[in-house]
């Protein structure tokens, strides 16, 4: 199935997300800290701790600090900051940027929000004065980590890769998988299996499931 299924790729590393990409939709669901620059009437139900109560039309008051998903923050943001202003999440701020420049390999990027590069790239839309430093940090972090990802993906054959993959963000995991596929295809060719006719993965997977259906 994997061979004939061509999913819509992520565009998050570029100027805009891809509308139909499942990866980009998941990435833009992650939250970031914002501050409301005006009151938001009738939305108090969503942010009960902040709500100003029924007298103010159940509003979220001006100056509230909230965590909103990226898609919502993008939609409500404008360069005059009339509705909200955006704060950088910690991992894109100066402190963590220094950690990355010291040694990018030790950081668990999966824990720091699994879409580190994608989310960080889209964060640049909010015109922070630190944008130049953020983009440099994203680039240098990737450069620092890339070598190890490439090496490990090309040398881990037929083994448990969870330790290698555990601290990678989603984009890096995709890269690792691509590397693994290349390695497996090459090994397959070396063993002469490339010219053998085999059932496609999809057909095998569906046949396995069929037996469990019958048992139910």
């Amino acid at each position: 199935m994997s061979e004939a299924y061509f999913r819509v790729e992520s565009g998050a590393l570029g100027p805009e997300e891809n509308f139909l990409s499942l990866d980009d939709i998941l990435m833009s669901h992650e939250k970031l800290p914002v501050r409301t620059e005006t009151a938001l009437p009738r939305l108090g139900a969503f942010f009960l701790e902040r709500s100003a109560g029924a007298e103010t039309d159940n509003a979220v008051p001006q100056g509230s600090k909230l965590e909103l998903p990226l898609w919502l923050a993008k939609g409500l943001f404008d360069n005059k900051r009339r509705i909200l202003s955006v704060e950088l999440p910690k991992i894109y701020q100066e402190g963590w940027r220094t950690v990355f420049s010291a040694d990018a390999n030790v950081v668990d990027l999966h824990k720091m929000g699994p879409h580190f590069y994608g989310f960080g790239s889209q964060l640049l839309h909010f015109d922070s004065p630190e944008n130049a430093d953020i983009s440099q940090s994203l680039l240098q972090t990737f450069i620092g980590r890339f070598r190890r990802i490439m090496d490990s993906s090309q040398n881990a054959y037929n083994e448990d890769t969870s330790a290698l993959v555990g601290r990678l963000d989603e984009m890096e995991r995709g890269l690792f998988q691509t590397g693994q596929k290349g390695l497996n295809d090459f090994q397959c060719w070396e063993k002469g299996q490339a010219s053998q006719i085999t059932a496609s993965n999809l057909v095998q997977n569906y046949k396995k499931r069929k037996f469990t259906d019958m048992e139910d």
Partner: protein
């Protein structure tokens, strides 16, 4: 927060390994469309109030709901589109006749789409290679050698 159900649909597809097709989540889709309807009606009413009642402070709220509507639309379209990509792959990997288990996972409209796709593909294949046509879904990779070895069991 809005759009939670829509995200469930997306996660469901994303979780399915190797491009497999999960069952069509008719119920989930219906809930997303209901949420969109409610958002739209609330916005209609607030827009009227903002225009005639002078409540321009409602505009950020209207924008908030509008963003949620756009998000729900995006999730719905991406869900349906990705499923079509998987269904299309079925024709190439499984063939023309799908097992029943798979057919039950598809909605009526998806089944219709599959049939139309099959028909377009068949028409195209017939137009190739002279009189008999050419089945391009076979032998997708070029052969590695001149001969193949086939095992026959009696």
């Amino acid at each position: 927060m809005f759009c939670e159900k829509a995200m469930e649909l997306i996660r469901e597809l994303h979780r399915a390994p190797e491009g497999q097709l999960p069952a069509f989540n008719e119920d989930g889709l219906r809930q997303v469309l209901e949420e969109m309807k409610a958002l739209y009606e609330q916005n209609q009413s607030d827009v009227n109030e903002a225009k005639s009642g002078g409540r321009s402070d409602l505009i950020p709220t209207i924008k908030f709901r509008h963003c949620s509507l756009l998000r729900n639309r995006r999730c719905t379209v991406a869900y349906l589109y990705d499923r079509l990509l998987r269904i299309r792959a079925l024709r190439w990997e499984y063939g023309s006749i799908l097992p029943n288990a798979l057919r039950f996972h598809m909605s009526a409209e998806e089944m219709e789409w599959f049939n139309n796709y099959k028909r377009s593909l068949a028409t195209y294949m017939r137009s190739l290679g002279g009189d008999e046509g050419l089945d391009i879904t076979q032998d997708v990779k070029p052969p590695k050698s001149l001969y193949i070895e086939v095992c026959i069991s009696f």
